[in-house]
């Protein structure tokens, strides 16, 4: 039970860390187009 006193604060910190990572990815354009990149693998144009 005592481990909770360590794990719960760590999980809170992790939530904020994950939020920060997502924020960075979002603003690097990672999620701007969720459709086309998925079809790119099917396209035969990598010369």
């Amino acid at each position: 039970m005592e481990s909770l006193y360590l794990l719960v604060p760590i999980s809170v910190a992790l939530v904020f860390l994950t939020g920060w990572v997502f924020w960075r990815e979002l603003h690097s354009g990672q999620f701007d187009d969720l459709e086309r990149p998925a079809q790119d693998v099917l396209a035969d144009d990598d010369r």
């Binding site: 999980s11 939530v15 997502f22 979002l26």
Partner: protein, 771 residues
């Protein structure tokens, strides 16, 4: 005179008269305006307000429903090119309510040399046209800026950028809410299952952890709900956001208080879950709306060149868009006209063929002669119509909004009453959350937008969103034969000689006479006038008269020619056009109007849908009906209780198109915009009419299902929540589920076979055959 509630609030909290922001002690300005002392927060607002009043536009302050943006005496760079353009589309920034659009239009119309000023609140665009000799774009933009708004030339990139920002921030909020909800759920889990094994310390820590994570979810992710509720409060209008915001804020405050005080119930899990589900519904709505308007955006993003003038010759390289409407002078290629007609197959183009602005030249360079440029092009006309449809709020949506507001009021009253009666704030919150009529607000708009977008992709532009409701009720279809069921292009099929002249000379004479006319009949004789004529006269509904070597000749109806010859025509087969001179009858010509290839199929498809089909032809060859006859015909049907759709193509069809309950106009006919039709067939494909019937009927069915579901849900859940039978988390799930179900239902296919097959090909034969 009372200038709105803003004025009364002004003195109380010393808010700026113009922008409504609190005015600081230092730098505050007082100006005697409109019969009272008005406080301004800065010199910028003061200047803007003085300009507005000096221009005589003080009505703005009475009719506005939101304060203006701050007029910060901004230093605008004078970057507008002072070219010789005479029209422009501007993006406006700082529009807050429809009074703003009125103000800008009024200010612009007072400018010298302005010929057109139209502001669209929905698209935030201003359409301007002016006389370049009297004013220029720079001074018009300055006029807009003088009353506190910013205007920049319409730039698709900016629009795109705005869309991207909107999408990113929606995703970000959704992520915070989703991740937060997940985490808070984990902290809540032990308390639900522990059976008292959880130590008080551990439970308290879980509560604090939940509070810590729910706080950003509420403060940041839920911000749109609070902003929306504030807006509704300012407008003194009950909306859908108010109960949501109250429920979220109330639930959080009560839980936070319980956490700090150490006693009472906490529902952080329900709050963050509600936030997540609501934001998920919103995000889905955003994506659905974007996808539906993608077709429209394509059309609006491309604007025809303003630099060209009719008569000019332009070379269009392969792969480029045709910059204006025109005719091919040289070269053979094919063009992709899908942007305008919805027709995916390339169309072959050779000398003499027409090119439409916005289509893409696919193979070889083409030399074209411009016939219509800039705002006169078909693309521009279609974009204007589409814009009008987008900015109009259909009656259906307005009705839903009204009912939604009413329900919101009921919900608020019931929530307060239930909370007081039970002495439990959680019951009030559950009522607020569970019965918020959000689903009602979603029910119609998405379906209508989707229906419009799908029809546009199939070559039918809906110019009025109310057309769908009418289309559903239609029982009778009246068709104009010429130009609708037929191509309207007459060809000469037979020449009957009545006098002594031979056939070639009669045709040459007829051709020369008709060369001066643009009537469809004239084109049947082909181009190339070889005989010089004098004193050419056009007699409407009769024909043409001219002098050849001093001798009068006439071409036209039998009666018209008989007046010239003085005796009836010799026996002849049943033909339509006659040629005669003063001495004798010369010839009679039989003309044929080729039916459209899809006409037979079209009639069968209409009858199959249980629609009564009527023909109303204005064709003089078929002893046709005058525009008045057609109008009366439709009126008679309507008086007999029928709901009539009219399909027409000519300018003379305007009255009957206006009379019918729903009207279709061929995009190739007279300027489609002028006809005022409810639906314009941009692809000239009759199949689009039946598709419009199908899609509208289905769309209306979906809307009705959505309304029924949303209302039924609220009717069931309101008493349950008021009785205290629904806990906060059940309320959250119920509310979000009702929205998501409506959203999913709205996303159902609108056509019978909306599969990948149908969407990859829009060839006319296939689209027609699915019925």
């Amino acid at each position: 005179m009372e200038y709105g509630r803003q004025a009364s609030i002004v003195r109380w909290m010393t808010a700026c008269f113009h922008c409504g922001l609190p005015s600081p002690e230092r730098g505050r300005r007082v100006h005697f305006l409109l019969g009272a002392e008005r406080v301004f927060c800065c010199a910028g607002c003061e200047a803007v307000a003085c300009t507005i009043v000096a221009g005589g536009f003080e009505t703005y302050y009475r009719t506005r429903t939101a304060p203006a943006i701050r007029g910060q005496g901004r230093n605008y760079s004078e970057d507008q090119p002072a070219d010789d353009r005479s029209d422009a589309s501007l993006i406006l920034e700082g529009l807050r309510c429809s009074a703003c659009t009125w103000l800008i239009e009024q200010v612009l119309r007072k400018q010298p040399g302005i010929t057109r000023a139209h502001v669209n609140y929905a698209t935030r665009r201003a359409q301007l046209a002016w006389d370049p000799a009297k004013t220029d774009l720079r001074s018009l933009v300055a006029a807009i800026r003088s009353v506190g708004y910013d205007a920049t030339p319409y730039d698709p990139q900016r629009q795109e950028e705005a869309h991207r920002r909107e999408r990113r921030s929606a995703l970000w909020r959704l992520f915070i809410a989703a991740f937060g909800a997940m985490q808070v759920m984990m902290y809540a889990f032990p308390a639900y299952v522990s059976d008292g094994e959880l130590s008080a310390d551990a439970a308290e820590m879980m509560r604090w952890a939940s509070l810590l994570i729910t706080a950003p979810v509420l403060v940041f992710a839920c911000q749109p709900f609070f902003a929306g509720a504030m807006r509704e409060l300012r407008h003194r209008r009950l909306g859908l956001e108010t109960p949501i915001a109250l429920g979220l804020a109330g639930g959080f405050a009560a839980s936070a208080w319980a956490t700090i005080a150490g006693t009472g119930e906490v529902y952080f899990d329900s709050i963050s879950m509600l936030a997540f589900l609501l934001l998920a519904a919103r995000y889905a709505q955003l994506v659905a709306a974007r996808r539906a308007t993608a077709v429209l955006d394509g059309l609006m993003r491309w604007t025809p060149s303003n630099a060209l003038t009719p008569g000019q010759h332009v070379t269009v390289p392969p792969g480029e868009r045709v910059p204006a409407d025109g005719v091919v002078e040289q070269g053979v290629s094919s063009a992709d006209e899908s942007l305008l007609t919805g027709e995916a197959r390339p169309v072959t183009k050779g000398a003499g063929d027409t090119l439409i602005a916005g289509s893409v030249n696919l193979e070889q360079p083409l030399v074209m002669r411009v016939t219509r440029a800039g705002a006169d092009t078909r693309a521009a006309a279609i974009a204007r119509l589409a814009e009008r449809a987008a900015s109009e709020k259909p009656r259906l949506v307005e009705a839903a909004d009204r009912i939604g507001r009413l329900l919101t009021g009921v919900v608020l009253v019931v929530a307060i009453a239930a909370g007081l009666y039970w002495g439990n704030a959680w019951i009030a919150i559950a009522v607020l959350v569970a019965t918020c009529p959000c689903a009602l607000g979603l029910a119609a708009p998405i379906v209508l937008t989707r229906a419009n977008a799908q029809l546009l992709g199939r070559g039918a532009l809906v110019t009025r969103s109310s057309a769908h409701a009418a289309l559903e009720r239609v029982t009778d279809v009246v068709l104009d034969k010429t130009g609708t069921l037929t191509t309207g292009q007459l060809t000469l099929s037979q020449v009957v000689l009545l006098g002594h002249a031979d056939a070639p000379s009669c045709i040459a004479l007829a051709r020369s006479l008709e060369a001066s006319s643009r009537h469809p009949i004239s084109r049947a004789f082909g181009p190339g006038a070889s005989i010089t004529l004098a004193s050419v006269q056009h007699v409407p509904a009769c024909g043409i008269e001219a002098r050849v070597d001093g001798c009068r000749v006439r071409i036209g109806t039998e009666r018209f020619c008989q007046d010239l010859v003085g005796r009836p025509a010799p026996s002849h087969p049943d033909v339509g056009v006659f040629l005669a001179n003063e001495q004798e009858w010369l010839a009679a010509f039989a003309l044929e109007d080729a039916p459209r290839p899809d006409a037979v199929e079209f009639l069968a498809a209409l009858r199959k849908r249980g629609l009564q089909v009527h023909m109303a032809s204005g064709d003089p060859l078929a002893g046709g009906m005058s525009p008045q006859d057609k109008h009366d015909y439709v009126e008679r049907l309507q008086r007999a209780g029928r709901v009539v759709a009219m399909v027409g193509d000519g300018l003379n069809d305007t009255p009957v198109l206006a009379r019918a309950d729903v009207s279709f106009a061929m995009g190739s006919g007279a300027d489609a915009a002028q006809l005022g039709a409810d639906v314009v067939l941009t692809g000239n494909r009759l199949g689009a009419v039946t598709e419009a019937f199908d899609i509208s009927r289905r769309a209306m069915r979906l809307i009705r299902q959505n309304f029924a579901w949303a209302l039924a849900y609220n009717a069931v859940v309101l008493p349950l929540a008021a009785l205290g039978w629904i806990g906060p988390w059940e309320a959250a799930i119920g509310m979000a589920a009702s929205s998501i179900i409506v959203l999913l239902n709205a996303s159902r296919p609108l056509t019978a076979k909306e599969s990948w097959k149908a969407s990859t090909s829009s060839s006319p034969s296939r689209s027609l055959s699915y019925s």
